[in-house]
Amino acid sequence: MSQPNDISFQNISFQYPQGDEWALKDVSFHIEENEWVAIIGHNGSGKSTIAKLMNGLLTPQSGRIHIKGLEVNEENIWEVRKKVGMVFQNPDNQFVGTTVIDDIAFGLENHGVQRDEMLKRMKYSLEAVKMEGYENHEPHNLSGGQKQRVAIASVLAIEPDIIILDEATAMLDPIGRNSIMETVDHVRSERDVSVVTITHDLNEVLFADRVIVMNDGEVWKEGTPREIFNLHKELGEIGLDTPFVTQLSNSLKSEGIVLNQEPLTHKELMDELWTFYSRT
């Protein structure tokens, strides 16, 4: 049998009890092991709903969800939640410990991690989010960005098979955000883990292997970041945008500069300009 997908959504439709419309309409997609997928889409397009379905916080009216081959249902729910580490938009609802270190320890104890291994993981996860020295602070009294960092540390520490970050870096500055993404990327290079980042930050999208674009409760498009950001006009129509480099590239093209590939990073664009400059 071939390797099952890490996450699979088959024809998922979901409506909130209080909602007057379907939040998700016949949504299907797969995420492979060790894949990093970014989910983007306008406000209310259904991204957080997808995240909550992934660990069984919500149950779809129709369709089936599998996590690592396990169907997400009442019977498997605890098994599923052990595999999925999730950070929400607002970490306040997620803190369980009275201090930062307790909060991280709590998750580890729940996962039955041994004492000395616990200490090791608490240390590296706090370092990974640059919150060393805040061990004895109360999570609720941290700054907005510090809360997000600690919530991310708690999830990194339990080393889940699947990491879901739902706008988990929205309160960080660009450098902080980048450093968290690099940490996650590093984790992925060391062990098998799939990553789902839900974000409005276009530069964060560039870390992903693949992008799922949501629009009005439906999957609008799937593709690599390069493919997706090539659709600048269409993205604009559904409330989205392209990164600075894409915008500048497009303006340069309209000035007659020939770019061979769609650049995504500063360096790629600079190299393309250099090629154009030095061609004879």
């Binding site: 306008h42 991204k47 607002n90 109360e138 500055d173 660009p174 945008d241 500048l248 250099w274 400059y277």
Partner: protein
């Protein structure tokens, strides 16, 4: 509203094991009518600072003047309700300011509480909903049964309803989709100009600071370390890096362009299209020279 801080320090949970100095001897003046941005890395004291503007926090030492109001450690703020009526704060996490049963009640809470007539409230509501792009269909929903970006819009609407003299925005675009971010900032900027109010924006978006603010303050570990116009401040790439901040992407790119092509394009607020023109000229010249 004129804002004056003189040697303001703030210590959280003083005389407990959790004691933490979040602001240290901060002094500045923001003239009425300014659009000022406050920038700084995680935990540098931005949210602490702005919560002093409406007396939610009081300085541990130092003196604050907000228009005619005085805020110090010793005295109770006189007419604090009046101050809160004139200073509208949009908090960093919208959940912290939503609490009513329905979106509609939530948006109306502030103005009702401060004695605005129902007529006035009713007449302002549609306009405010439009300016934050919130569908009327959501009015009867609980504010907690919304998506993150929708909650953000409700929180902003509630503050706009009060038409405050001073509008304080703590990361107001976090959670908004790209179009929403742009529309919201354009709206703040438009209303700022129309009403000649004072606007304070706490942001991690250097792009927004550059585009919308006329003055920028940089915080680091509770201290005010730099101030100036956005163009002045954002030219100091090294100094910003030292306090853990990056310059706006456009400026970073122009600096890299200069070191690659040996020609500088000074940034004066050009649009991307205008910059592309200037770059094209330089890059084409290279081709001709060859």
């Amino acid at each position: 509203m004129d804002i004056l801080f003189e040697n303001v320090s703030h210590i959280y949970q003083k005389n407990t094991p959790f004691e933490f100095k979040a602001l240290e001897e901060v002094s500045f003046h923001i003239p009425a009518g300014s659009f000022a941005a406050i920038i700084g890395h995680t935990g540098s004291g931005k949210s602490t600072l702005i919560q002093h503007f409406n007396g939610l926090l009081k300085p541990t030492s130092g003196h604050i003047r907000m228009g005619d109001f005085n805020i110090t450690a010793e005295k109770k703020v006189k007419d604090i309700m009046d101050l809160r009526k004139r200073v509208g704060v949009v908090f960093q996490y919208p959940e912290h300011q939503l609490f009513e049963e329905t979106v509609e009640k939530d948006i109306q809470f502030g103005p009702k509480n401060f004695g605005l007539s129902q007529d006035k409230i009713d007449s302002r509501l549609p306009e405010v909903l439009k300016s934050v792009n919130l569908p009327e269909g959501l009015l009867s929903r609980s504010p907690f049964d919304l998506s993150g970006g929708q909650m953000r819009r409700v929180a902003i609407a509630g503050v706009l309803m009060m038409s405050p003299d001073l509008l304080v925005l703590d990361e107001p675009t976090a959670g908004l989709d790209p179009r929403g971010q742009k529309e919201m900032m354009d709206m703040f900027s438009r209303v700022h100009k129309e009403t000649q109010r004072t606007t304070i924006l706490v942001t991690h978006s250097m792009e927004d600071a550059l585009k919308y603010a006329d003055y920028v303050f940089i915080m680091n570990h509770g201290k005010l370390v730099m101030e100036g116009t956005p163009l002045e401040v954002f030219q100091k790439e090294e100094a910003l890096n030292q306090v853990g901040l990056a310059v706006p992407e456009v400026i970073k790119f122009l600096h890299a362009f200069e070191s690659r092509f040996g020609q500088s394009i000074p940034f004066k607020g050009q649009s991307i299209q205008e910059l592309a023109k200037e770059m094209t000229e330089i890059v084409r010249r290279g081709v001709k020279d060859e």
